[in-house]
């Protein structure tokens, strides 16, 4: 399990809907109400059509590992209790690519071998602060391996 680490201001107007959806067990992203572009990371304007306005859309919460790395040393004091932990770039079926923490039995995917590029992963929601959940990812070990 990972410590709370570096949580931003979860009440900031731009991202508050994202954080509150996590508390309901939903991963979400903005879809532009003008051109329909699915936006990640959250942004005030659409990087395609430059218009404001977006609706938060629930994502499936599945993905495929594009790459991963293992933090064995904390590169920020707030993460001192979290190491070792595994991070990944995850391709979502909705067409966006996100960074995430992958939970494995030891935290070190190089040691436990539980994460490989191309693996399918699923979102889980872990309480990381009082009244705040964060999305984490777990290997969909029972399912078929993805294609890299």
């Amino acid at each position: 399990m990972m410590a709370s680490g570096l949580l931003p201001d979860t009440a900031a107007p731009l991202t508050a809907p994202f954080w509150s959806a996590l508390n309901e067990g939903r991963l979400s992203a903005q879809r532009c109400t003008t051109c329909g572009y699915l936006r990640w990371p959250p942004s005030e304007l659409c990087p395609e059509c430059m218009r404001p306005g977006a609706a938060w859309e629930t994502l499936r919460g599945t993905g495929t590992v594009w790459s991963y790395a293992v933090y064995r040393r904390a590169m920020h004091p707030a993460l001192a209790d979290a190491v070792p932990y595994t991070v990944a770039v995850i391709d979502l079926p909705e067409g966006i690519r996100v960074l995430g923490t992958v939970l494995t039995s030891t935290g070190d995917a190089d040691a436990d071998g539980e994460v490989r590029i191309g693996d399918a992963v699923s979102a889980v929601f872990e309480e990381v602060a009082p009244d705040q959940a964060m999305v984490r990812w777990i290997p969909a070990a029972q399912g078929p391996r993805g294609i890299a």
Partner: protein, 379 residues
Amino acid sequence: MVAVMRERAAIVGIGTTAQGELPGRTANEIAVEAIALALADAGLTKDDVDGLITCRNLHARSGIDEQVGALMGLNPRFGATLDYGTGNFSLHLGIMALAAGLAETIVLVYGTNQRSQRASFGIPIGGGAEMAAAAGVVHVAGPAALAFRRHQHLYGTTEEQLGWVSVAQREWAQRNPLAIFRKPLTIDDYLASDPIVAPLRRSDLTMISDGGAAIVLTTAARAKDRPKRPVYIDGFAERTAFRADQNPDNLMRPWLGDLATELWSTSGYTPADIDALYIQDATSVWVLQMLEWYGFAPVGEGGRFLAEGHTRPGGSLPVNTNGGQLSEAYMWGWLHLCEAVRQLRGEAGERQVAGVEVALDCSSHDFLKGAASILTTRS
């Protein structure tokens, strides 16, 4: 582009301060020391300077042109500060100012006390910084490790192959009195060390350091009157990737390949013309990436190229002959430019490469910008 300039720009002076830990000194004070050294090298005084281009520090409001100008008592015609002032970007702004007639003798400078100030680099890098931090992806080591693991997956690149970046640069650094890290580092030492952000090790990352570097830039015509052999800028190109993670495979930085294509086609040079190569190395992975994107090795074969020893002393393509940021000092690529000038002038002492006439300096600013310059003594 080069073709529209009336004449080439030339570097006529360089100055480098001690590197490492310079306690009790401000960033601007270090910058002015570097400027004094560069002016002495150029045989000029501050009264000859009519342009000042400075480099803002990452974590402090220091390195601003107004501050540096005030500290050195200078009212140049032209002053500017770059927030992303890795050496090449500042050099290009200087070339533009010369071409526009805004100045004729320009000092470019970067000074920092970020080590003494204990500046934290444990910050997220690139787009979506807040979300990256929440996932624990902080410090450039994270994205670099993710990029290298992907390279391994696609091309079979090994940790040992990557290790040759750090080992070769340490071999060069042992011949450089300015370098902070001069202790021998073998490939066995490298492989025996523990990963910090696996698959990357300590030797794949830079250590934050204090120091200063400055460059005096002028027109080719004026350069002829200076005591040192002029080093001309014969080609340059830049690229941005501001859309960051929305760009395809941005961690691999494929847009550097577009930059390289423009550089080669507008300058008329090819990779085979390059006698010494400089790659700004926030991490060793950037060296691997840029060897490939600039065409020194086919994409996917950078690891093999490194393991063959081409970049080491005595190799066919000397890379980062100062030791680079991994072994010399962390100066945002400024020392790469200074080293290129030293090699081109034949002033590199024990590490001098024979017959260097053309050098290429490649820099990048996170996952957001790239720049490159071709430097030559050919008149």
